[in-house]
């Protein structure tokens, strides 16, 4: 059984978690019992993906981050990891319902797109480079969850502004809480991104080669998130504007990463 089969089965669990969202929206009061089911499905998907990543890592004899497909699987996995940590610590039951569709989308596009192309590494094998790449992907996971939280914030703000709260109104947390969690996730993602960049600078200096498309992407993303963080903390951006900017920043991060990876190919 190859690692891709594990990813496909994990996808089924995430699809089931997404389908559960529909049910939870219909019966808001059933949130408690359905929330547990949602967490079980997400944990199962998480463990299956972890198995897939480990199998791929063992066959490559290195951290499975050699092509776009592996990076995408890793980002989805990191997103679920942060969801499980943040969702549990802040007791946000509906976070999983918003995370599941995003993970499903990342996994599905990764599995369907012709991006799982074996690549012969151009640079000398270095555990430092692998560590830097893994930290960078974890940063993407935290920023992906910041995107999810911003989407929840946006939806809740719209419902409050419309004066006609929809079915998700009672399931979503308060806009102020989502705002606080969003900023904390941005700080976490930004710190990881910065650590990844510093690690990358040291590693590539040791190896003696610079992957320029990646360097440009990393700097551009770092600047975008630095500006966003400044706006949300010093500039007092809250609510809709902050949510839209956070979602846009992540879309930029992901599309720029895809673009950079295609260029690198």
């Amino acid at each position: 059984m190859t690692d891709r089969y594990y990813d496909w089965v994990a996808l089924l669990f995430y699809v089931a978690a997404t389908a559960l969202t529909h049910r939870r929206l219909r019966v808001a009061q059933a949130a408690a019992s359905l929330h547990h089911l949602n967490v079980i499905l997400m944990v199962a998907g998480f463990l299956l993906q972890l198995t897939g990543l480990m199998l791929r890592g063992m066959s490559l004899q290195r951290c499975p981050l050699t092509n776009l497909f592996e990076a995408q699987m890793f980002i989805a996995w990191a997103l679920v990891l942060f969801y499980l940590l943040i969702g549990a610590s802040y007791r946000i039951s509906f976070l999983g319902a918003f995370t599941a569709p995003v993970v499903t989308l990342i996994l599905l596009t990764g599995l369907l797109a012709p991006i799982d192309v074996p690549r012969v590494p151009t640079l000398k094998h270095s555990p430092w480079i692998e560590l830097h790449a893994a930290i960078g992907i974890l940063a993407c996971g935290a920023l992906a969850l910041a995107f999810v939280v911003a989407a929840m914030d946006f939806v809740q703000d719209r419902q409050l502004k419309s004066h006609h709260p929809g079915p998700s109104f009672r399931l979503l947390p308060a806009v102020e809480q989502l705002d606080v969690i969003g900023v904390r996730l941005l700080i976490l993602g930004f710190v990881l991104l910065t650590a990844g960049m510093i690690g990358g600078a040291i590693s590539y200096k040791l190896v003696g080669a610079w992957p320029w498309p990646k360097v440009v992407w990393a700097w551009a993303s770092w600047l975008v998130y630095a500006a966003l963080l400044a706006a949300r903390t010093i500039g007092n951006w809250h609510g809709r504007r902050a949510a839209v900017a956070t979602m846009a920043a992540f879309v930029f991060l992901l599309t720029a990463y895809w673009g950079m990876s295609w260029l690198a190919r």
Partner: protein
């Protein structure tokens, strides 16, 4: 053996009658024991709330038990006028269905209200403590509580608030992370603003400021709700610290305008602000709602939400009755098997 119910509620009797036949909570156990002795019942439990008084009993002969329960109500409350026109009776299957409807809030004045479940649980506990319940009533009440739990978790019968004051609280809870850290300002005193402020305070709202032209009145309201009274002219000074504003003045012009609000929002670092406009004519300019992080609701908006919530509950009634019917059948079969 038969299950018998005799009682009255807000539909069958006016409040003047209900208040005369209500049992004091502390005397429920004692009254149930007395009832067992006088009416020759195997088991009994009395449910008494502001909207209903119901006696549930297990008796060998239902034909004799029902009039005995009526007589007991008369005698216990020393009534002189007849009660019969206000009382209803249910037996066996209908009695089970009735209790299940009651605990699920389907028979309440406010459809789907949840307070009744706690009240019936208290009544059952009192009867149990008095030794007035046995296998039949224990099973009846426990199955009814289980039905209520199931229905509350699988249907939308308790979804949303159906009163304007509670709608305001529900909205505030979806804006602010923690109501305990929020400051509420009431501008202008009146029944509706008082009810809304009270509802917010009961849900843990932190500081309360009451501001009105009539110092005595605002001082009294502040004292009643544990808040602080401020002078009407001082509200713009306090405003940057405030998270929730309940405005209900008789002012002919808006007192909070968009132009006034823009610098105030800057002063409060653009944190969310919940404006509740109860005034007629309106106290808060509608343009304020266009500002980011400002959530403005007037009476019409909140009444509409309360109405929508009630409509959602009403749509669930059929599903609830279907769920109850299954449980009624199972329990009725168990009772028949055991007692016949």
């Amino acid at each position: 053996m038969n299950l018998v119910l005799v009682g009255l509620n807000h539909c069958s009797a006016p409040v003047a009658v209900r208040e005369r036949v209500a049992f004091p909570r502390a005397k429920l156990g004692e009254a149930t024991c007395e009832l067992l002795g006088t009416a020759k019942l195997a088991e009994a439990a009395i449910v008494s709330t502001c909207n209903r008084v119901e006696i549930y009993a297990l008796a060998a002969d239902a034909e004799q038990a029902a009039p005995a329960l009526r007589r007991y109500l008369h005698a216990y409350h020393k009534l002189t006028e007849p009660l019969d026109e206000y009382l209803y009776e249910r037996r066996n299957r209908d009695c089970i269905a009735h209790l299940m409807n009651v605990v699920c809030g389907l028979d309440s004045m406010v459809l789907g209200e949840t307070e009744i479940l706690g009240q019936v649980k208290d009544a059952y506990a009192a009867a149990q403590l008095a030794g007035a319940t046995g296998a039949a009533l224990n099973r009846l009440f426990q199955k009814a509580f289980a039905a209520a739990k199931h229905i509350r978790s699988t249907t939308a019968i308790t979804r949303g608030s159906t009163s304007v004051a509670n709608v305001a609280v529900e909205l505030a809870e979806k804006i602010f992370r923690d109501l305990a850290h929020s400051t509420v300002m009431v501008i202008g005193t009146g029944a509706m603003s008082e009810a809304t402020a009270k509802a917010l305070r009961s849900r843990g709202a932190g500081t309360l400021l009451v501001c009105g032209r009539d110092r005595e009145r605002s001082g009294a309201l502040a004292a009643q709700l544990g808040g602080r009274a401020i002078h009407y002219d001082d509200w713009p000074v306090e405003f940057p610290k405030v998270d929730i504003v309940i405005s209900a003045t008789a002012s002919p012009h808006p007192i909070v305008t968009r132009d006034k609000l823009v610098p105030l929002m800057k002063a409060r670092h653009n944190r969310p602000l919940f404006l509740i406009d109860i005034g007629v004519p309106r106290d808060i300019e509608t343009g304020c709602d266009e500002l980011e992080n400002v959530y403005l609701y007037n009476m019409d908006n909140m009444q509409q939400i309360a109405k929508d919530n009630l409509a959602v509950r009403e749509r669930e009634i059929t599903i609830c009755h279907e769920l109850i019917a299954e449980r009624v059948t199972r329990l009725a079969e168990w009772l028949e098997e055991r007692y016949q």
